[in-house]
Amino acid sequence: MKQFFSILIALATLVAFLLLGRQISAAIGWAVPGAVVGMLLLVASLVVLGHVPKGLALVADKALPHLALLFIPPVLAISQVNALTMSHWVWVVLWLLMSWLVSLFVVAKLLNRGKP
């Protein structure tokens, strides 16, 4: 029961930070998504607090690994994009592979140079 309440409070906290972030983002007229502003505020709050409250830790550890569930609708939505045909997809995957290879190479070399 106690755990149930701490989860509820954690969810309420997350929603509160989300709403706050959206308000701030809208008020400033910033292009940064409200959810990202909410995330930044929560990171700052945790730094001030000095630790992660139990409920929040529980929600993050249990729910975040299952994010793929939330992505079912967005991924299915690609079927509604008529601009992409099968042959386009071959190019998309080839581009992603090339871009990934070059990115890893550049980033790893950069980091290797800068190591202490």
Binding site: L11, L14, F17, L18, G21, W30, A31, V32, P33, G34, A35, V36, M39, L40, L42, V43, L46, V47, V52, L56, A57, A60, L64, H66, L67, A68, L69, L70, F71, I72, P73, P74, V75, L76, A77, I78, S79, Q80, V81, A83, L84, V92, V93, W95, L96, L97, S99, W100, L101, S103, L104, F105, V106, V107, A108, L110, L111, N112, G114, K115
Partner: protein, 233 residues
């Protein structure tokens, strides 16, 4: 909340559980990750039920709320990296902005001149973690669904051949290995590294978290300032 909404959520969750089971059975084979398999399974189920996909998407629109809540919840893993951030503050403070910029530039490269705006804009956030890529893609007018897919494919490369490529490049430093894989292949790479070397995995998680954070801030700002003002949108 209609009965139909509940039924669709149950269908989605059921498909996800089946896919997660298969993924675990395969001992983490990246192509069987539920991010790839569960939408296919749901799509097939909808086809069999002759339920139109566009209707499904409309019904599931409230789900984007859960995604936004998940982005806020990323604050927790980000906060947990604080000790490593403190230890390596000097290194990270210059590496991170440089790498974030490099990753965005290499994500689009010559595509800016070759393909439709909404296509290359979708690739811009492909090195960040999925929920952040989704949100960023939305504000810079990419196709969020294409962004999600490109993030997942990019991550799968990292899980499959990331460590092998680093071996080929003769990179031995564990910080460099973990950090570069986290930057380029986010959660997929982190999950892969967790199987063999938790220290590398922690650097990977750190890179993934910080890269998502910094990219989610500068990309929307720069793109809205530069592109929107030149009248491209």
């Amino acid at each position: 909340m209609t009965i139909r909404f509940v039924a669709l959520v149950v269908l989605m969750s059921g498909a996800y559980v089946v896919c997660l089971y298969l993924y675990r059975k395969s001992r983490g084979f990246a192509l069987l990750h539920p991010v790839f398999t569960s939408p296919v399974l749901v799509g097939v189920a909808l086809l069999l039920l002759s339920f139109p996909i566009d209707q499904f998407l409309i019904e599931m629109a409230p789900f984007s709320w859960a995604l936004d809540v998940a982005i806020v919840a990323l604050a927790i893993p980000i906060y947990r990296t604080i000790d490593v951030v403190k230890q390596r503050a000097r290194q990270i403070s210059w590496m991170l902005p440089v790498c974030s910029l490099v990753l965005v530039v290499l994500a689009v490269g010559p595509l800016v001149w070759l393909v439709d705006d909404e296509i290359w804009l979708s690739f811009v956030p492909k090195s960040t973690t999925t929920p952040v890529a989704y949100a960023v893609s939305e504000v810079i007018h990419g196709l969020p669904s294409l962004s999600v897919i490109s993030v997942a494919i990019t991550g799968a490369f990292g899980a499959f051949i990331g460590p092998y490529m680093l071996d080929r490049m003769a990179i031995k430093d564990r910080f460099v290995r973990g950090f570069s894989l986290g930057l380029t292949s986010h959660a997929f790479a982190t999950a892969k590294l967790l199987e063999s070397d938790t220290e590398q995995a922690s650097y990977s998680a750190l890179a993934m978290a910080l890269n998502a954070l910094i990219t989610a801030v500068w990309v929307p700002l720069v793109f809205s300032l530069v592109l929107f003002n030149t009248g491209q949108f």
